[in-house]
Amino acid sequence: MKSPMLFLIEDEPDIRDSLKEILEGEGYEVCTAANGAEALATLETIPAPQLILLDLLMPVMNGTEFLKEQGKRPSIANVPVVVLSADTTRKPVEGVSLHVKKPIDLTELLDVVRKAGA
């Protein structure tokens, strides 16, 4: 069976690379993008991922804007999203039930990813 594919959208290279490495170590296939726009472009060229890991604060197109766009594209509209958020004060993002707070706890992240059906 093909490994489940995760799509990681995160602008900080250090976080992006670390997470990619670790998740690949866990047996997942990981695609990445540095911001929302890049993500959308890439997602058009690949099959829909099992799960999207989404950072909110990014340049060019941030997480909130990405979510809006995601909803408009039927091919990816139903892909579950896990928001990686550093902001403890902000309310949870509408329409997204899974949140992982930064700094990311690895165990928690792997748990959420597993439970999300990937």
Binding site: I15, K102, P103, L106
Partner: protein
């Protein structure tokens, strides 16, 4: 014959004695026997004659012969006894006839009191007659006495009655006098009486002249005088009330104005009463008109005061309800126009420093609508009127009360007769104007000016508070934004740090650490280390901000070579520069020795460098050092996206960035801190930039940082205090 009829020597009244006998000789004999000064003897020779006599006489006793032709004694006696008037007269029968008891009995039955037989005994006769005469006299006396008594009583009654009359009269006189005195004593009122149409006056109290100014005669001479001098506006009501008086009520009272002789308008309270006249049956009006001008004045003042305090209360309430000055002020203007004066206009400065007409209101709804539609045209004010009180407002002065020249025609149409211009000031500064205009009835008075000032004070405070509130809100918003960005920024290095650490722990716990390439482990630890550096920098920046705001960031000044520092920087950041594709070029003299806080200055230069690499990747960053006698300038030039002119000032402020916070990371503190450092050195940091071309930051510094310890540079949000120069080792240069 005095002996018999004489009672104790008194003169006796003459009594009449009636002798009735048909025989003359008997009558004479009787006469002789009974002759007495006290008797008047009347002879009658028949029953008829006797009766005739008795028609209008009342003798004391009747001596009646029984035997008479025609009407005999008994018959006569019966008739005598039958008459009410003569019934009581004692009758003595004279008879020669039968001494028989039956006969006698008959005689008594016929009313006799006694019988005397002929021939009679003179003594006995005289005695018997005397008795009856006496009786009669006594009777007469009693009657007389009774009559006298009644007469006395009557006189007594009359006397008492007369006395009562006199007392009443006196009392009336007294009352009249008192009344007159009372009436005279009313020195603020007039008592009057007139016919029922109040046309012809029958009485006016003398005080009338004092109270109303017209001589009393006028009232009588001119009919209708009273009504003619009632204020024209109140006349109709007066006559209506008069009619009412006649119809339904007995007395009424109402207030009205009267035109006094000296032209004053006096307020009177007139009470009217309709009564029947004292002399005739005509109806009369009695009136009392009291001067209540003072009361009215007090009422008016009280009413005004109440109006004012109500207005102030309402205005305060409206102003306190919302911080949205625009909406508020319109409400306030409308309130003032509704309650106080016809025209209200308010102007104030907006945040760009532009003077604008903020609100306008008029009492008349249609004019109000007109004003509202014109507000746009008067928006940017051309005039700032000087505060003042205009008790008169001739046309040529209208310019002094308008906010915009285009307002003049509008104001002209309002027909204002007076105006009040109050400056709105807050914290010693003029922040606008409150204009009040009056178009009648009445004009503004000095006391209204005071009210205007009061209103202006409240309005100015409200505007100021709204401004402060806005600023506070903005500050809070920015702080919240800062906090959200800060938390993101601080957590960003923590994430990989945590991930790397956890991963290493997992590898160790699975006993697989040995299977991992050392190079990979190194890389993981490098990543971790980098994050720690980033965190450290962030923390330092935040601490700097804190120090700056509490004025505790001190400079440690020392002598060093600026060029050396720059070259050092280039080396240290080579990795970072390479990653960004930026080349750091340094141009300037060989050596530039300065006396600055090298640590802090480096902080500034590094900040400028990292900004350039972030916003202008792939392009060179040029550092140019120029020297002049006064000091040194370091120019940092990049070829990046540039900064829009509107943002150029803003980016140096705390928490500000040229791009929005949600797109780019970074706390936006760098330039703010750099500016503070530059200024603490007595220097200056600014930028030249054009969009799409690039930016050049200029750091201009004196040769030496100022060193007086007492010198405090006070900034509105804390500042840097340069400390005395200390020979500190250049440990900051790593």
């Amino acid at each position: 014959m005095n002996g018999l009829g004489n009672l104790g020597g008194e003169q006796l009244e003459t009594v009449e004695i009636l002798l009735v006998d048909d025989r003359e000789e008997n009558l004479l004999a009787l006469e002789a026997v009974l002759s007495d000064p006290g008797y008047r003897l009347i002879k009658a020779n028949s029953g008829d004659a006797a009766l005739r006599y008795l028609l209008d006489h009342t003798p004391a006793v009747i001596l009646l012969d029984v035997q008479m032709p025609g009407l005999d004694g008994f018959g006569t006696a019966s008739i005598i006894k039958a008459s009410e008037r003569t019934r009581e007269i004692p009758i003595i029968f004279l008879t020669a006839l039968n001494k028989d008891d039956k006969y006698v009995q008959r005689g008594y039955e016929h009313g006799a009191v006694d019988y005397i037989y002929k021939p009679f005994d003179a003594h006995i006769l005289r005695s018997k007659v005397a008795v009856f005469a006496d009786l009669h006299r006594k009777n007469e006396r009693l009657l007389l006495a009774e009559r006298k008594l009644m007469e006395n009583e009557r006189r007594e009654r009359e006397r008492k009655f007369a006395e009562l009359e006199i007392r009443n009269l006196r009392r009336q006189q007294l009352e009249q006098r008192r009344y007159r005195e009372l009436v005279d004593g009313i020195n603020h009122g007039v008592v009057w009486a007139s016919d029922e149409t109040a046309n012809v006056f029958s009485f006016v109290s003398p005080r009338a002249e004092e109270v109303l100014g017209y001589p009393v005669d006028k009232w009588f001479e001119e009919p209708g005088f009273w009504a003619a001098h009632i204020h024209p506006d109140d006349r109709d009501e007066f006559f209506a009330r008069l009619k009412e008086l006649g119809r339904s009520t007995e007395s009424i009272g109402f207030e009205h104005r009267f035109l006094a002789a000296d032209g004053r308008v006096i307020w009177l309270h007139t009470g009217l009463r309709l009564t029947s006249g004292s002399e005739s049956n005509d109806l009369e009006i009695r009136g009392l008109s009291v001067d209540i001008s003072k009361i009215k004045e007090a009422e008016r003042t009280l009413e005004q005061s109440k109006l004012r305090s109500d207005l102030l209360a309402e205005v305060s309430l409206v102003l306190s309800e919302s911080f949205d000055a625009g909406v508020c002020l319109q409400h306030v203007a409308s309130s003032i126009a509704a309650r106080f004066c016809s025209w209200v206009c308010i102007q104030g400065f907006d945040h760009a420093g532009l003077l604008r007409t903020l609100a306008a209101a008029h009492q008349d709804p249609s004019i109000h609508r007109q004003a509202q539609s014109q507000l746009q045209r008067w928006n940017a004010c051309t005039e700032l009127p000087a505060p003042g009180f205009y008790p008169h407002l001739p046309r040529q002065e209208l310019g002094k009360i308008c906010f915009h020249l285009e307002q003049l025609t509008f104001l002209d149409g309002l027909n204002l007769n007076s105006a009040i211009v109050c400056a709105l000031t807050a914290r010693g500064q003029r922040i606008g104007t409150l204009l009040l205009g009056c178009s009648g009835p009445g004009k503004f008075e000095q006391s209204d000016y005071a009210l205007g000032d009061d209103l202006a004070y409240r309005i100015a405070s409200a505007i100021d508070n709204a401004g402060l509130y806005r600023e506070a809100q903005k500050a809070v918003r920015m702080r919240d934004e800062f906090l959200s960005i800060a938390s993101h920024e601080l957590k960003t290095p923590l994430t990989p740090l945590k991930i790397q650490t956890q991963q290493l722990l997992r590898l160790i716990s699975k006993d697989s650490l040995s299977t991992v390439e050392p190079a990979r482990v190194s890389r993981m630890l490098e990543i971790s280390n980098r994050q720690i550096e980033r965190l450290n920098k962030l923390i330092e920046d935040l601490l700097d901000i804190s120090r700056i705001s509490t004025g505790k960031m001190g400079l440690r000044v020392e002598e060093f070579d600026l060029m050396e520092l720059l070259h050092d920087m280039n080396q240290r950041f080579s990795g970072h520069l390479a990653a960004a594709g930026c080349e750091m070029k340094i141009d300037g003299p060989e050596s530039v020795r300065v006396r600055w806080d090298s640590f802090r200055v480096e902080q500034v230069l590094v900040n400028l460098l990292t900004n350039a690499t972030k916003y202008a990747p792939g392009k060179p960053v040029e550092f140019t050092v120029k020297t002049v006698p006064e000091g040194v300038t370091i120019e940092v030039r990049d070829y990046g996206m540039g900064i829009a002119e509107a943002d150029q000032k803003r980016i140096f402020q705390r928490f500000e960035r040229a791009v929005s916070g949600t797109h780019f990371g970074g706390l936006g503190l760098g330039l703010y801190i750099s500016t503070q450092i530059a200024e603490a050195h007595g220097g200056h940091l600014w930028v030249e930039s054009a969009l799409g071309v690039g930016s050049t930051f200029h750091l201009q510094m004196p040769w030496e940082a100022p060193g007086e310890p007492a010198e405090t540079i006070s900034k509105k949000d804390g500042g840097l205090v340069p400390t005395a120069n200390a020979p500190v080792a250049a440990a900051h240069l790593n």
